[in-house]
């Protein structure tokens, strides 16, 4: 089966278990949005997929192959690209150098410097600036561009909009359709439900490390997601927008 498939994944840090029996499937070219409160396990799940963290048990398959035993390095080379939480740029390198390091996966494909500058035009003007001297939005754009330079087939985006002004987030999301035209599968973490519904094919809501709700975005209502988000049965729960 193509795409990404997790089966009964338990994971955590030391004695602390953050994820319980996570099973999910994302078909090739699909966009899955992970929603959930802080601490629900969204970032942990992305780290498990990227290989930065090993699960306690469970299987992870990517394009039909079992990748549970592959290191983060090999997964990156196999086409799994993570835009990590907090952006994690190389602060002493320039924008362009950050992007070039992203090509370290050695994968060929549609993304090179030119392609990234076309999709994220604000980077082209700042190519010689050190990453440490960029605004938050610019840094996030570099982090996305850097992951694209590795020509991933599966792109994991962790809280792209965190701490950014809505207008900046709009600019970043404007790049998504372009990124997806090449058939790249996307898994993203997003707190803003309207944005999530606007871009996602499939939605998965985590609550305290368990999947509380999942399904096609078109088949779910905001009320259902809100309910799963807070783990309440109350239909009058406030709308989540932040």
């Amino acid at each position: 089966m193509t795409g990404l498939e997790l089966h009964a994944v338990d994971a955590g840090y030391g004695d602390f278990q953050a994820l319980f029996a996570i099973s999910l499937h994302v078909a090739e070219g699909e966009l899955l949005a992970l929603v959930g409160a802080n601490g629900a396990g969204k970032s942990t799940l992305l780290r498990i997929i990227a290989g930065s963290l090993r699960p306690f048990r469970g299987s992870i398959r990517f394009d039909g192959a079992d990748i549970a035993d592959l290191s983060d390095i090999r997964r990156a080379r196999a086409g799994i690209g993570l835009v990590p939480e907090g952006r994690r740029l190389f602060p002493s390198l320039t924008v362009e150098e950050n992007l070039r390091v992203g090509a370290g996966t050695g994968r060929k494909g549609r993304w090179d410097l030119k392609g990234v500058y076309e999709v994220l035009p604000l980077l082209a003007e700042r190519r010689d600036r050190r990453a440490a001297r960029l605004s938050g939005g610019e840094q996030q754009a570099v982090a996305i561009g850097r992951a694209l330079m590795g020509n991933p087939r599966l792109l994991l985006l962790d809280e792209v909009s965190l701490g950014l002004a809505p207008v900046v987030v709009d600019q970043l999301y404007a790049a998504l359709p372009d990124i997806r035209t090449s058939g790249t599968t996307v898994v993203l973490v997003e707190q803003d439900l309207s944005r999530t519904f606007a871009v996602a094919d499939r939605l998965c809501c985590l609550l305290e490390g368990r999947i509380a709700l999942s399904g096609l975005a078109s088949a779910l209502t905001r009320a259902q997601v809100t309910e799963a988000y807070f783990g309440t049965a109350s239909v009058s729960a406030p709308e989540v927008t932040s």
């Binding site: 990227a50 983060d72 390095i73 990156a76 190389f90 002493s92 390198l93 390091v101």
Partner: protein, 290 residues
């Protein structure tokens, strides 16, 4: 004119310090390892050269290559077997490992080769000089050393800034976890860094042994001090600063010697302390790897 000569000789002496310090600076910049064995590895490089010509009949000019190859290989093993593991333990562990190596190298050398100097004679090149007129002369060999130092540091700079591996090395210095997400094995980058560091220190050690006409086991205790002083004077993480630091230290020692034969070391240490007091970030200091 004496003082002009003093400064000139000091600059020429500084070449070796700069070269020795370049590798020290690189290892610290990429892995945050303060390599206390750097001076002893430099002397080991001198031994590799001297022994290869004495016992294996390698022509003297080629001993440089032998020394670089031996120390490069040693650097790879050192990183893979000891330093990688030490780095996984704690921040201080690698320094303790290098301290242990710094104790072992001179004692092993004394055990095998005795305390007598192992000669490394470069013949006429050692005394040949260019007359500049007015009583000034530049020795060919010191000049060669400075040129080699400039080439090594320029080469390092170009490598770090103009090549993909160099960029990846600097990225690894910034964040070794994240380069892994780009398919880069940070441990390979560490191994490469240590190999480069030890190859350059082998060159420095060989030239040092050639300059002195030979090499003895315990000299590393002094050369490691010079290398650290050079890095601090120049500013951590700046390769041009390292070159400047070497030259400043060379001039200070040479000026000290001009005043009194006991003074060269003291003069060097005083300049080092003055820099620490008045410009702790060094002459060209930056907080990140150049």
């Amino acid at each position: 004119m004496t003082w002009v000569n003093t400064i000139l000789q000091g600059l020429l002496l500084g070449g070796i310090f700069a070269m020795a310090a370049g590798g020290l600076s690189l290892m610290f910049g990429v892995m945050r390892i303060a390599n206390l064995a750097h001076g002893d590895l430099m002397i080991l490089g001198g031994y590799a050269a001297a022994v290869s010509t004495l016992h294996l009949g390698v022509p003297v000019p080629l001993t440089v290559l032998v020394s670089m190859a031996v120390l490069g290989g040693l650097g790879y093993l050192l990183q893979r077997t000891l330093l990688d593991r030490a780095m996984a333990l704690s921040e201080l562990a690698p320094m303790m490992v290098t301290f242990g190596i710094a104790v072992m190298i001179p004692n092993a050398l004394a055990e095998v080769f005795s305390n007598d100097a192992q000669p490394l004679n470069i013949g006429a090149l050692g005394t040949a000089s260019i007359e500049l007129g007015g009583g000034l002369a530049i020795g060919w060999f010191p000049l060669l050393t400075v040129v080699a130092a400039v080439l090594v540091l320029t080469g390092l700079h170009l490598f770090l800034h103009r090549t993909q591996i160099g960029r990846i090395t600097r990225a690894t210095a910034d964040d070794p976890e994240v380069v892994r997400l780009m398919g880069v094995d940070n441990l390979k980058i560490y191994a490469l860094t240590t190999v480069i560091s030890l190859v350059t220190v082998a060159l420095a050690g060989t030239l040092y042994a050639m300059r002195q006409g030979g090499v003895t086991p315990y000299e590393g205790q002094l050369t490691v001090l010079f290398a650290f002083e050079t890095v601090v004077i120049g500013g951590l993480g700046s390769l041009w600063g390292t070159l400047a630091g070497g030259l400043v230290l060379g001039v200070a020692q040479s000026a000290g010697a001009q005043i009194s034969p006991d003074l060269p070391l003291l003069a060097g240490h005083v300049v080092f302390l003055l820099v620490l007091v008045f410009r702790p970030q060094g002459l060209f200091g930056r907080s990140v790897l150049a």
